[in-house]
C-alpha cells in the first residue's frame, strides 16, 4: 500500500523552500514523468504534467494541484560567526530554539548543518528575559569560525529544518515539510491508479510553487492551463497534543472534503458520492471563508474556475515534527483517481447552480 513511502521520505529530505523549489521539483518530475504524457514547467517554476484522457477532443480537463514548496527560514544578518534569521512562511517562533537546521549556502552550493539557539536572557532585551522570543532574537550557530562563516555564508541564504524523517508506530511518518509533500505523494498515488484505467478527460497534475508565501504559482498555472475545474490537495489540521477538537480532524480517519467559499457545491457533492461509492471514509471540513490553499487563487483565474479542496489531516503543521498517517495519503490519492474516473464527457455541463 505504501509504495509512495520512500518517495515521500525523499521529498521531505529536500528543502525546496517557498520561492526556491529547484531541488524538489526535479524529484517530483522524475517520479511523475513516466506516469504522464507530457511534462513542462510554468514560467514561475510550477510543474505541469499532462495525462491525456481517452475522450474526443476538445476534451475537458481537470487540474489536480498541490504545492511543493515548504516553509523555512532565511539568513537576515551575519554577525561574526553567528547568523540572524527571518521566516519564510508562517512559523510559530516558539518551536525554533534547539532546532537542527541546514544552511543552504549559495556561494559554494554547500549545505552547512547548524542549530537555532535562544541566547542567554541577559544578552536579550529585558522584556524577553525568560519569556517567548520572536525569531529576530534567535541565532543560528553552525559551529564554524568567524572566518569560515564570512567566507561561506551570506545574507539571503536559505535555512531549512534538518529534522530527519522518522516512522512512528501506527503507520505514521513524522518530519518537516510534510505540508505539503504528503499531498504530492497523494497526487502520485492518483497518477499510478490512473495507469491501468481509461478516463475521459485530460488530467493536469500540477506541483505549484510559492503557496506558503505568494500563491503566485497556483494563480499563474491556472491561467496558463485554463482547466475546466480544479482540485487542490493540501493539509488539514490534525488532532494532536495541544490541539483542541475545534477545526481539527483525527489522523488515519481519511481525507477531508472542504465546504466553503472556495468550493463549488457540485464538486463537493460529486466527491461525496464518489467517496461513498468507493468505500473511502471522508469527513466534511468547514472552510467558511477562504480555504487558505491554492484553491483561493485558482478559483479566480481568468473567467473563474470551479474548485474543490481535499485535506489530509496533519499534526503539528508548520513545525519540524509534523505527523501524517500514510493511510490518509493513500485514501486521498484513491479518492482523486475515483473522482477523475467518475467524470463523464459532458460533466462541464453538469457543473450548474441550483
Amino acid at each position: 500500500m505504501s509504495e509512495f513511502h520512500p518517495f515521500l521520505k525523499s521529498l521531505i529530505g529536500e528543502a525546496g523552500l517557498s520561492g526556491h523549489e529547484e531541488s524538489i521539483k526535479r524529484l517530483v518530475e522524475l517520479r511523475w514523468a513516466p506516469l504522464v504524457d507530457e511534462v513542462h514547467y510554468s514560467r514561475l517554476g510550477s510543474l505541469h504534467s499532462l495525462k491525456r484522457g481517452g475522450g474526443n477532443p476538445p476534451r475537458p480537463s481537470v487540474m489536480i494541484a498541490s504545492h511543493m514548496d515548504a516553509i523555512g527560514l532565511m539568513v537576515s544578518r551575519v554577525v561574526g560567526e553567528f547568523l540572524s534569521i527571518t521566516e519564510i512562511g508562517s512559523i510559530d517562533p516558539r518551536i525554533l530554539p534547539g532546532t537542527p537546521v541546514l544552511v543552504l549556502a549559495s556561494k559554494g552550493a554547500d549545505k552547512i548543518p547548524g542549530i537555532i539557539t535562544l541566547p542567554p536572557e541577559d544578552l536579550l532585551f529585558s522584556e524577553i528575559g525568560e519569556g517567548a522570543a520572536g525569531s529576530e532574537y534567535l541565532i543560528v550557530d553552525v559551529g564554524l569560525t568567524e572566518r569560515e562563516v564570512s567566507r561561506r555564508i551570506q545574507v539571503g541564504d536559505l535555512v531549512s529544518f534538518n529534522t530527519p524523517p522518522v516512522d512512528l508506530p501506527g503507520g505514521c511518518l513524522s518530519g518537516h515539510s510534510l505540508d505539503n509533500r504528503a499531498s504530492i505523494a497523494a497526487l502520485t498515488v492518483c497518477l499510478e491508479e490512473l495507469q491501468s484505467v481509461q478516463h475521459v478527460c485530460d488530467v493536469w497534475a500540477v506541483a505549484t510553487v510559492q503557496e506558503e508565501t505568494t500563491m503566485g504559482g497556483a494563480a499563474s498555472s491556472a491561467f496558463h492551463l485554463h482547466p475546466t475545474l480544479a482540485v487542490v490537495v493540501d493539509m488539514s489540521y490534525g488532532q494532536g497534543a495541544g490541539t483542541g477538537g475545534r477545526s481539527t480532524f483525527p489522523i488515519g480517519g481519511g481525507p477531508t472534503l472542504g465546504i466553503g467559499g472556495s468550493i463549488h457545491p457540485f464538486l463537493h457533492q460529486r466527491f461525496t458520492e464518489v467517496a461513498h461509492r468507493s468505500g473511502i471514509p471522508v469527513v466534511n471540513e468547514a472552510m467558511p471563508a477562504a480555504s487558505l490553499t491554492d484553491a483561493d487563487v485558482i478559483q479566480l483565474s481568468a473567467e473563474g474556475v470551479p474548485t474543490m479542496v481535499i485535506g489530509i489531516p496533519l499534526r503539528y503543521m508548520h513545525t519540524p515534527v509534523e505527523v501524517v498517517a500514510l493511510r490518509d495519503i493513500q485514501l486521498a490519492g484513491r479518492l482523486l483517481s475515483e473522482f477523475v474516473l467518475s467524470l463523464e464527457a459532458d460533466f462541464p455541463d453538469r457543473i450548474v447552480w441550483e
Binding site: 561574526g80 530554539p97 534547539g98 542549530i115 539557539t117 569560525t145 503539528y316 508548520h318 513545525t319 515534527v321
Partner: protein, 351 residues
Amino acid sequence: MTNMLDIGRAQVQLLEKLCNTVGVSGDEAEVRQIVLDEVKSFADEIRLDAMGSVLVRKKGRSRNPMRVQLDAHMDEVGFMIVHEDGEGFYQFERIGSIDGRLWPGKQVQVGRSHQVGVIGVKPPHLTAEEEIKQVIPEATLLVDLGPQGKAQVGERGTFVSNFRRAGPSIISKAIDDRIGVAILIELLKHAPTHIELCLSFRLQEEIGLRGAKTAAHYFNPELAIALDATPARDLPDYAGRENTTYNTRLGLGPAIYISNSTAFDDPRLIRFLERTAIQAGIPYQFRQPGRGGTNAGAIQQSQAGVPVISVSVPHRYPHSPASIVRVADWKHTLNLLYLALKNLNRRVIDA
C-alpha cells in the same frame, strides 16, 4: 609538541557512542555499560558503588604512588514519562535543569529501546497573536509516540542525539558530560606509572550533585579533579552592549575554575595547572567565577578534606538538543590533564 595525545577517529566514535545513549539521571545503565567495556582492559579494579557509579582504580607502579581522583558524571538531563493519555500520547516531567522553551517542536527518544517520538504544538494558523508572545506552558506538552506507540510510566527519555561533525566543532546533545567521560577513559589508557589513578564515573549529577560524595569517601584521594563541561555564553548581545557574562569562550582551551557555587578551587592546583599549560603551550582560560556547580564541592568535604579543582570543556547551549563543542578545546583539555598527571607530585600540595 611531542608527547601529546590526539583526538582521532576512535576518540570521536567513542564520544558519539556515549552521546547517543539515553542516560538520564537515575537510569545511566546504557552509559555505564560503555564505560565498563572501555575500562576493563586497563583497570586493576572496577567496582560499582551502592548508587551505581563506576569506580575504577589503576595502581601505580612506583613505590607509594600518589592517589589522585578524577571525576566525571555519566548522566544527562531529560524527562520521565509520568502518565499515559492513550493513543500514543504521554505526559512527561523534566529531569534536571532544562529550559522549558526547548521542548516544543523537538524529536525525543524514550527508554532503552530509544523509541522516537515528537513533542508537537498546534499550528500557527490556530494560534492567536497574543498567544505567540507567551511561553507555551510545559504542562500542556505531550510526547507523541505515534498512534500505536507504547511507553511505560517511569521510563526516561531525552532529545534525539543530533550528533554530527561541523568543521572544527561537534554538535550533539549530552556533551555535558559525556566529553568528561571520554576524557577520563582516554587518561586511563595513558595513565602515568607514579600515580594511583582513581576514576569515578558518577551519576545523578544533574539532579543535585548526588553521587560525588560517596565516591570520594571510597577512594580517599590526596587530591581530586572534577571534569565537566561548562557553558560558553559567548554570544553577541542583542543591543550591542559588551557581553560581560560569557562564563567561558569557545576555542580558548580548557576552562580552569577559580570558584563555583559549591567550592573554592584549591589555589595550589590552580597555579599548577596554569604552569603546566604555559610550559606545554596549551591554551587555557579561567572560567568566570560564580554561579554553577560541579562535583568539586562534595569531594572537597569528603573524609578529612580533599584539595580539589574543576576543569571543564567549554560548550555552547548546555542542556539542549544540540550543544556545540570545539574539538580543539576537547584535545587541549585532555592534554592539560594528561601532562598535569605526568608532572604531578606531592610538592604541589605540600607547598
